[in-house]
């Protein structure tokens, strides 16, 4: 295991340090709360001569991602950071980045989407980009924001993948929460990420290339399905990189992370900073003799169907937490879980909790309540609540789909 240094950092600083150590060639970015500190930290690295690459402070997120695409096609390592409305403004171009198979890394500090305007965390930006063809990793605390950002470069630039990677972290709860963490020495971190491997660089005049051609009926379908093939088949590469990183750092990661699931009757499936709170809740209930567990989704896209199927196989009741308003249907993580259950002939009582919108607090008490709901279903041998429940919603209580 490599030598490490203890630090106090928040999620933004953790991601910034990983960016510095990866020796990025071009960062093109635009500030937006709550990811602004990443852009500011990186500016300071530039001002202090700690990074050698170009830092392009553009006039919008749309141009940030456009410059990232132009730079990555040029032939070098590229990264950026954004949140919420900025992410929404980028959406057109994030599809271009994946369609051109460019290994850009983006730290997405998750925040609600307006209206109403809200600067606090939820996953509506992450969900907005879920079909954009990016690999999406989820960091649940500052340490993970650092570790996964380093892994992201290695995954994105792997010749078997060549796809952009987003590393998500919850706005404020991760991005602005100071915690003790550990980082690798610069040489070890860079050694892990490795030198950039060029593939069809625009800047090589010996071999001119055309990026972003037009394909109509004859070729579009073939291109998109091959792109999907690369994305779906990135799962084992993600696992390989996470394993290699674990050997270096001693910190284990997997596409789906299980906590006390083996004999659990009731499970919570969730992503983001709520994972830490759920872990504490599981510990508390386990002490009281309750058979409860948690499944944390680390890899949101490509969705790790097989690993999730294995994780839930013994559960009797499953509560799925979505931190985004599903607007007219059930939550996206719920839908993924339901699909995996159908595909595996798995039956369990399934409830969907919409929580934490716009930074609304979710505490161990709330999560205990969810486990109580699930236990009630287990006892009754059927779902006893409407499918969609809310947590800590003020005013009139709301649920959906009897």
């Amino acid at each position: 295991m490599a030598k490490q240094h203890r630090v106090v950092w928040d999620g933004n600083m953790a991601a910034s340090q990983a960016m510095r150590q990866a020796q990025i060639d071009v960062v093109a970015a635009y500030p937006i709360t709550p990811s602004t500190p990443i852009v500011q930290n990186y500016s300071q690295f530039v001002a202090d001569g700690e990074v050698e690459g170009e830092f392009v402070m553009v006039e919008s997120e749309h141009s940030a991602m456009s410059a990232c695409v132009g730079a990555a096609a040029g032939g070098g390592r590229v990264a950026t950071a954004t949140s919420s409305q900025g992410y929404a403004l980028m959406v057109e171009v994030i599809y271009q980045a994946s369609g051109m198979r460019l290994p850009i890394v983006m730290n997405v500090v998750n925040r609600a989407l307006a209206a109403p305007l809200n600067i606090h965390g939820d996953h509506s930006d992450m969900y907005l980009g879920r079909d954009a063809g990016w690999i999406n990793l989820v960091a649940n605390n500052p340490q993970e924001a650092y570790d996964l950002c380093l892994c992201a470069f290695k995954i994105a630039e792997d010749m078997r993948v060549r796809l952009p990677v987003a590393v998500n972290q919850d706005g404020f709860l991760v991005s602005h929460t100071a915690e003790v963490g550990e980082h690798l020495e610069d040489a070890d971190a860079y050694g892990f990420v490795g030198d950039y491997t060029a593939h069809n660089p625009m800047l090589d005049p010996a071999k001119p290339v055309t990026y972003g051609a037009q394909t109509e009926g004859e070729w579009h379908y073939e291109h998109k399905m091959r792109q999907n093939y690369a994305l779906v088949n990135a799962v084992p590469v993600v696992e390989e990189v996470l394993k290699a990183y674990s050997q270096l750092s001693g910190r284990d990661y997997a596409p789906v992370e299980c906590y006390q699931t083996e004999d659990a009757d009731e499970l919570i499936i969730c992503m983001g900073s709520v994972v830490g709170t759920t872990t504490m809740t599981v510990d508390r209930l386990r002490k009281a003799g309750r058979k409860v567990g948690m499944v944390a989704i680390r890899l949101w896209r490509p969705f790790p169907k097989e690993a999730l199927a294995a994780a839930i196989k013994n559960a009797k009741s499953i509560a799925v937490l979505d931190r985004s308003c599903p607007m007219g249907t059930t939550g996206a993580l719920y839908n993924e879980t339901a699909a995996v259950m159908v595909e595996n002939d798995k039956s369990a009582n399934l409830i969907n909790y919409i929580y934490g919108l716009g930074g609304r607090d979710t505490t161990t008490e709330h999560l205990e309540g969810i486990f109580d709901d699930a236990a009630e279903c287990t006892k009754a041998g059927k779902r006893v609540k409407p499918i969609i429940q809310t947590i800590n919603l003020r005013g009139k209580s709301l649920s959906f789909y009897e």
């Binding site: 392009v56 919008s60 005049p205 290339v209 004859e218």
Partner: protein
């Protein structure tokens, strides 16, 4: 700094190595391809090019074909400048790290239509120019959204009939003044800004070379007669271009900004011996046909006054040296 290509005559120029190949699907008589060839063939340095969505992009890179013998990228309609700014930044970063792919000079160009420049790409262009990336931005200005069937843009001239500013029983077509994009780009303190027309090929090539040699962002407004939507016979493109220049509808001029003195130097590169009335230019094109009805004759009269005033203004700036 790269080599300046010596160009003696049109034959030599037209037979030089092609970097923008034929076989593309631009309309017969389209001025875009002529302008693009004149610009990319004006240097022997290596090139990286971005192109906004539009006629040039759609017609030059239909997979699995490409007309480009230089590296080229298209992302979207509004971001040709941002895209090439990223590629140029990567070039600088790799050169600094001594990891470049080539030691030879590399030039960067963004091509966009007037829609991608005057309208939807305006912010991206303004940002990239303000940041001082070393690239040439070329607006292929055919005064409307011709790739989507001829809608008006903020470059469409007064009285022009387009599919979204049609002439009708009570309307003479476009009501708004054409935006003065060249002046706007000069106000960004680009060190070199110029207007060109494809028929004046020597002037165009000379200006492209000047732009290649100028550090930072430069802007070329290339007026591009469009047979399909300006409604003239494809064989007439260069004739329309010539009359456009000789009537001073498209004055050939350049503005050089001196960052030391903050002075703007205007140069009129061509003064027609016999300045033609704008009526002759308008009469060549179907998009102005309705203006020749007696009830709309005031539009043509106003055009003449506007063009005269604009021509006078540019020459006064030249004479004043500021």
């Amino acid at each position: 700094m790269g080599e300046i290509k010596q160009i003696k005559n049109l034959k030599e120029f037209s037979t030089s190595v092609e970097r923008f190949q034929g076989g593309h699907r631009l309309c017969p008589g389209c001025s875009h391809s002529i302008i693009v060839r004149e610009i990319v063939n004006a240097t022997e340095d290596d090139l990286c090019i971005s192109t906004a969505t539009g006629c040039l992009e759609v017609c030059s890179t239909i997979y699995p074909f490409t007309s480009w013998d230089v590296s080229w990228i298209h992302i979207g309609f509004e971001n040709a400048a941002a895209a090439i700014s990223g590629t140029e930044a990567m070039h600088k970063a790799l050169a600094r790290k001594k990891k470049g792919y080539s030691d030879k000079p590399m030039k960067f160009i963004a091509f966009a239509g007037d829609g991608g420049t005057y309208d939807i790409g305006f912010q991206s262009l303004s940002g990239a120019v303000e940041r001082g990336h070393d690239f040439m931005y070329v607006c292929l200005d055919n005064e409307g959204y011709m790739n989507t069937g001829g809608q008006r843009s903020s470059s469409t001239p007064v009285g022009g009939a387009t599919t979204t500013s049609p002439a009708g029983r009570v309307s003479y077509g476009e009501k708004m003044q054409k935006k003065d994009m060249t002046a706007i780009m000069a106000a960004h303190r680009c060190q070199y800004v110029a207007q060109v027309a494809p028929s004046s090929w020597k002037d165009l090539v000379k200006k492209a070379q000047k732009a290649y040699q100028t550090p930072g962002a430069t802007y070329i407004n290339a007026m591009s007669p469009c047979p399909t939507e300006w409604k003239f016979d494809p064989s007439m493109s260069m004739e329309v271009s010539k009359v456009m220049v000789d009537s001073c509808v498209c004055p050939l001029y350049e503005i050089e900004y001196d960052p030391q003195t903050h002075n703007y130097k205007y140069t009129v590169n061509y003064e027609p011996k016999n300045k033609l009335p704008v009526k002759e230019y308008m009469a060549l094109q179907g998009r102005f046909k309705h203006l020749f009805k007696p009830e709309f004759s005031h539009v043509i009269d106003q055009w003449q006054r506007d063009i005269d005033a604009q021509w006078d203004y540019i020459r006064r700036r030249q004479d004043a040296g500021v």
